[in-house]
Amino acid sequence: MSNNLSNLPKKFKGLTHDFSSDQVTFKGVNWGKAMMWIFLVSDTFIFSCFLISYMTVRASTPVPWPNPSEVFALTMFGVEVPLLLIAIMTFVLITSSGTMALAVKFGYERNRKLCALFILFTAIGGIAFVGMQAFEWTKLIFHDGVRPWGNPMGANQFGAFFFMVTGFHGTHVSIGVIFLLIFARKTWRGDFDTGRKGFFTSMKSNYVAIEILGLYWHFVDLVWVFIFAFFYLW
């Protein structure tokens, strides 16, 4: 199927060709990859609904919104640094996205050990991110007294959106970490070289699975880009 992919027309001519042809539309695309992309589009809609409702509520309340720059500031060596923890979390997540991209690359080069190692690095980055988020939540709940129904800093809705949006994102990261650890083990064991069957499926697995897992992980990073911009910076 993908052998004659280079003979097919490209760009927009390729688009009309693929959609008007018989059989598969996404030529040369593994079905699992296409399904992961469709799941990610639906997940995009869920996160969009959260962020749009956050925009609607924040724009329509006459009560001043708490200033995120001050709420999420950390005091380091007696100096108040704005958004310090959030910035570190952003860099950690981007780094883990980079290691995941390299893991996918090493996977396609059939470099089993480097691939497993970089998936493990990615998982460690994810764990660090969730850990820092737990610290952030603890500080906000016990130190600043933020609740879903109110807070001392300003508009009552702030807490509800903070816990909902970052909580849902943190859940995605946690699920990602679990799958990263599972796939690091599978890769290290050589499942994708021997075509060993998965736990839930009778189908043989190969290194495309790493790219599909990578798509999910990059998506988690992608969502954080938007949360960082709209929730913490705006």
Binding site: M1, K10, G98, A101, L102, G214, A229
Partner: protein, 112 residues
């Protein structure tokens, strides 16, 4: 497809491109953090936040998620639904402005 990957050498992209994108993402994240650190305000702040956000999102999707190298059939199916989200944003922004106006009107001006 499975046989292709098993038997043929799958062409991959160089290590350099990933490291470049990685470095760019770091720089862009640093820039968006600087927007807050130096406390830019108003239109400048919002436009800078949006610019760095879309630049980062574009780089991640194009290169880390390989969309730059995918066939247009897949790319178009994935990106056109985003126009629905853009429409929804405009709808709800208008709605929020209206709600804000009515709240000010009844809270401040009073309903008497």
């Amino acid at each position: 497809m499975t046989e292709d990957i098993k038997n043929n050498k799958v062409s991959t992209h160089g290590l350099g491109i990933y490291l470049w994108i990685w470095a760019l993402l770091f720089v862009l994240s640093g820039c968006s953090y600087a927007v807050d650190y130096y406390q830019f305000q108003g239109l400048l702040r919002w436009s800078l936040i949006l610019f760095f956000m879309f630049a980062k999102a574009g780089l991640i999707m194009a290169f880390f998620m390989h969309l730059f190298w995918e066939r247009y059939a897949l790319v178009n199916v994935l990106l056109w639904p985003m126009t629905a989200i853009a429409t929804f944003i405009f709808l709800m922004a208008a709605e929020a402005k209206y709600t804000f106006f009515t709240r000010l009107f009844y809270f401040v001006a009073g309903s008497s």
